[in-house]
């Protein structure tokens, strides 16, 4: 069960962030981003689907990927807090994406050597997609951070607001008992290097965080996640058992 719980944590990270990005569809500040944000959402939701499907097989109770995604409440979700943070402005959204992708890229890179075939398959695909997300989100962090007075202030506000959630990325969570998955803590060095590289170009600084926020892996979430799930799950719950 340790592996199933660990796979669920990963899947929840991807679905929640993917859904957050999908909320931008039709609202992005320019056409290019209206394509980019849902495209990145698709990558994340696609990864989540494969992982939910795998978690359901590991559990062996006959639940489907949809049951797991749509019939669990907020306290049963095991995503980290960073991915559930509301979109706020565009600076918040691209910084959240950059923080997450900078973590997942080395993580999937390490997972390519897993002895678990499904994890290897997911990792082989996701590692390249995350590299693409780092590049795209990272370019925006630089453009806004090193941009106008207004854009730089918004990016600094985003750093201030989101940096308190980054330490949780490196908590091992359920994967501690699942050797098929890489250590999260071991990705710290690569993450720090990516952030330092982009922040230097963006004229940004990573603040000291005396009290990091955590709890997502135990099901303790911010207020926003419940609202997000209520909307995301409404159709599935209103029409139980419907297929199309």
């Amino acid at each position: 069960m340790a592996l199933m719980d660990a796979v669920l944590e990963l899947a929840d990270d991807h679905l929640v962030l993917g859904h957050r990005l999908s909320e931008w569809c039709g609202h992005a500040p320019m056409l290019e981003e209206d394509l980019a944000l849902p495209n990145m959402a698709l990558d994340l939701i696609g990864t989540a689907r494969t992982l939910y499907d795998y978690a359901a097989k590991l559990e062996g109770q006959g639940r489907s990927e949809d049951d797991i995604a749509y019939l669990r409440g907020e306290r049963e979700y095991r995503n980290c807090l960073l991915v559930e943070r509301p979109n706020e402005d565009f600076a918040h959204t691209v910084l959240r994406q950059f923080f997450f992708a900078a973590f997942m890229h080395p993580y999937w890179h390490a997972a390519q050597d897993s002895d678990d075939e499904v994890i290897r398959g997911v990792a082989g695909k996701a590692v390249k997609e995350m590299a693409y997300h780092i590049r795209h989100a990272g370019e925006w962090v630089i453009r806004l951070g090193d941009g106008t007075e207004e854009s730089a202030q918004r990016m600094r506000d985003a750093v201030e607001a989101l940096s308190i959630y980054t330490a949780e990325l490196f908590e091992e969570g359920a994967a501690e008992g699942a050797p098929a998955l890489p250590s999260r803590a071991a990705q710290r060095e690569a993450w720090d290097a990516t952030i330092a590289h982009v922040f230097a170009e963006a004229q940004l600084e990573m603040p000291e965080v005396p009290f990091p926020q955590t709890g997502g892996r135990k099901g303790l979430h911010g207020e926003g996640l419940g609202h997000m799930l209520a909307e995301m799950q409404s159709v599935y719950r209103a029409h139980p058992g419907a297929t199309w």
């Binding site: 980019a36 696609g46 398959g121 390249k128």
Partner: protein
């Protein structure tokens, strides 16, 4: 004798499955793209092994259903197996597939997949219309998950580019 019959069946089943066009880029077949990994006979059932292109490719299910239909129309009982590992890369697109993409107006991937240049550097993309190497990226993402948008600065033609992944 039995083994020979099975081989002939598998070859016929491959032909039927391999001719299925990609639903989003219909100029190329699933065999051209390299996503049809193989067709084997399991008794009387033709088993097609398919690897999805991108994690979130919305066409994955449509492709699998189209292959199954093609096999059934060719007279086989059919089953699809989704193979995730090894993951698909643009390196698996055949030479013929690359030619077809060019003729269709989509620049095929130029760098080996996963190379640092392809992922982080400025990829050099050749203009489909005039052959100039002076092109610029318009958008990192395009009309489908597998494409980016470029423009030729010599002849000004905008065109799709198949991402290196």
């Amino acid at each position: 004798m039995v083994a020979e019959v099975a081989d002939i069946c598998a070859a016929r089943a491959w032909e039927a499955a391999a001719a299925v066009p990609d639903p989003e880029v219909p100029c190329v077949t699933v065999a051209d793209l390299g996503i049809l990994r193989g067709v084997e006979m399991d008794g009387d059932v033709a088993v097609a092994k398919v690897t999805p292109t991108y994690s979130g490719c919305p066409a994955t299910l449509a492709i699998e259903m189209a292959i199954e239909v093609a096999l059934r129309e060719a007279g086989f009982d059919a089953r699809i197996e989704r193979v995730l590992s090894p993951a698909w890369t643009t390196d698996w697109i055949t030479e013929e597939g690359r030619e077809k993409l060019r003729a269709y107006g989509i620049a095929p991937p130029e760098e080996p997949s996963g190379s640092v240049r392809a992922l982080f550097g400025e990829t050099t993309v050749t203009c489909l219309r005039c052959g100039s190497r002076e092109t610029e990226k318009l958008s990192e993402f395009g009309s489908t998950a597998c494409k980016a948008q470029y423009r030729c600065t010599a002849c000004l033609e905008p065109f799709d580019y198949f991402k290196c992944l």
